[in-house]
Amino acid sequence: MTIAVPAGRGSSLWARLRPRSEPKPYAHPYLAGALLGLVLFAAFFLTGNGLGASGGLNRMIVYLEDLIVPEHVDRTPYLIHLAGGDRNPLDDWVVFVAVGAVLGGFVSGWRNGRLKVETGKGPRLSTRTRWLTAFAGGAIMGFGARFARGCTSGQALSGGATLSAGSWALMFAIFASAYALAYFVRRLWL
């Protein structure tokens, strides 16, 4: 039996590790969803914690703040519990999950030929404007995620699977508000 090797790809280790030239199609949504469900379950089963992203980013920015203005961190009640005194905000599970997510995304992009320096945007938007809306959207999301004590990963996904009532309410709030606004910002995406 012969194994088909795509044209231009040798069998050496480097050839197998080398980035693909043409991107592979994405996985079927239900398959990807089931795999994500397995990862989420494994996280809960082994550690008791689910998944998270915004918590890790939050701890990174608080770490920077603590480097620059430690006295201010030690006087702000919300920041004290993350980085007060000799507490290291980066010594937390969610930081490692967030860093791992960047690495996992990178390796998958690499293996599937989707590593590309580009800007994902709607067809009618200039690249510069897209950078601005990405920053603005990120800022609003970052503020909201901390307000809700978790984002789509730490709340909607993880709290959804463990049947947390608050997480379900929050998940519907995210979708409701995004759908309500979609028409008005259609120029960004259509």
């Binding site: 550690t47 490692f96 992009g109 909201g144 809700a148 990963s153 049947l163 508000s177």
Partner: protein, 409 residues
């Protein structure tokens, strides 16, 4: 006792546990990328009904994880008590969710997917992550000015099963049915708005749907362990510990613990309110055994240096409460040896206002009091200089498994 979640720090050391979290994050990012979640236009298409990948991926992940999770807890492999369930802060959560929805449609990504966009060199992903860091900085700097609202409508560990008064298994089945309905609706929308030919979709998805529903029905059939089931699973070992008196702490040790300030001592008095009002230990909380269940989540999440001592007049009632707490995954719980009667035998000597009296029955007071002073008697907080009595050390601090009660914080 359910073997999972694992005691990670003890098993892998702290850096090892962090490495495991890194691997979990790696798998998370990898799967998000193969779903196409690193590319903002793909995510935003969800909100124009052309491509409902976001909904399909998210809800299939939620239901697959949910069915596996409650099958594992039902089979006694996983302890649901030790699984982090996001506490409900209803209104802050809803307001935060509404704000997040705006960020989602404007930015086209969410924090998790922006990390993947960043990992695959998307420049908008980089700007989004920088924006998110900025938004979080603003939040951290302003939250103390609206902390009253931010901490309002706190309902603790509240599940959908509690809200609707339904069995967990029933909720699992209903959530799966709801998700399948949403998938069917999503496919109809994609056909209309996205002009997708559904005949090209793999037939295997019906098999998957069937497997999921079957799994949910299995979860319903297995059921979830009750406190009695949980006790039955650990009874042989724990009954031996009770018989060998490993978990009964002597009055001298409790007095010692009262002055150990590196420990956080929780004294739970499960006697009747009238007995409690007559006399109790300094800072002891009166808890009706019927209300104990409501206190469990908080006791479970107590800091690692917490020692809980439960007491009744003798030991019978305290032992029952101890069994409930131990079965429900509370660690570092002990029983006051000899109960309040034994305490008074030791520490009430010479106090004219506390006199021995005949006990009215099992686990009742053997002392009569001149007046109901509660913790006003010297014996409530004995002078450690005066009562330097020897004791056998029984308290051995044990680390709780599972999350340390911070979640995605």
């Amino acid at each position: 006792m359910a073997p999972f979640p694992l005691a990670l720090d003890a098993l892998l050391t702290h850096p090892g546990a962090n490495l495991l979290y890194l691997l979990i994050g790696f798998a998370f990012g990898y799967v998000l990328e193969i779903a196409g979640f690193g590319y903002a236009p793909k995510l935003a298409a969800q909100f124009y009904l052309k491509d409902l990948t976001v909904l399909k991926v998210m809800f299939s992940a939620i239901v697959v994880a949910m069915v596996l999770l409650f099958a594992a807890t039902g089979l006694g492999l996983l302890d649901y008590n030790l699984v982090w369930v996001n506490p409900t802060y209803l209104w802050p959560g809803i307001v935060g969710g509404l704000i997040m929805g705006i960020g989602f449609i404007v930015g086209g990504l969410c924090p998790g997917t922006s990390l993947v966009a960043l990992g695959t060199f998307k420049i908008d992903g980089l700007f989004y992550v920088l924006g998110a860091l900025f938004g979080m900085l603003v939040f951290g700097e302003t939250v103390d000015s609206f902390s009253i609202f931010w901490n309002s409508s706190y309902l603790g560990r509240l599940t959908l099963a509690d809200v609707f008064g339904l069995d967990l298994g029933v909720v699992v089945v209903l959530v799966v049915l709801m998700a399948l309905g949403m998938f069917a609706g999503a496919e109809v929308l994609e056909r209309i708005f996205g002009k997708r030919d559904l005949r090209l979709e793999p037939k295997a998805r019906f098999l998957g749907a069937g497997a999921l529903l079957a799994g949910a029905l299995v979860v319903l059939a297995i059921g979830q362990p009750t406190t009695e089931d949980r006790w039955a699973a650990i009874a042989p070992a724990k009954n031996a510990a009770l018989a060998e008196r490993q978990v009964q702490v002597q009055p001298g040790e409790v007095l010692h613990l009262m002055h150990q300030h590196e420990l956080s001592l929780v004294l739970l008095d499960v006697r009747s309110e009238s007995d409690y009002n007559l006399f109790h230990l300094m800072d002891a909380e009166g808890v009706d055994p019927r209300d104990l269940a409501a206190r469990l989540p908080e006791l479970r999440m107590a800091p690692a240096n917490t020692v809980i001592v439960v007491m009744s007049n003798d030991e019978a009632l305290a032992t029952e409460a101890w069994k409930t707490m131990v079965a429900e995954s509370v660690v570092n719980v002990y029983i006051l040896e000899g109960g309040i009667n034994g305490w008074l035998d030791t520490f009430a000597v010479g106090d004219e206002r506390i006199r021995p009296a005949a006990a009215a029955g099992e686990d009742t007071l053997r002392y009569a009091f001149a007046s109901a002073l509660g913790e006003g008697y010297p014996a409530s907080y004995p002078d450690p200089q005066r009562f330097a009595i020897p004791f056998e050390e029984r308290v051995k601090l044990q680390l709780r498994r599972g999350p340390a009660g911070k979640g995605c914080g």
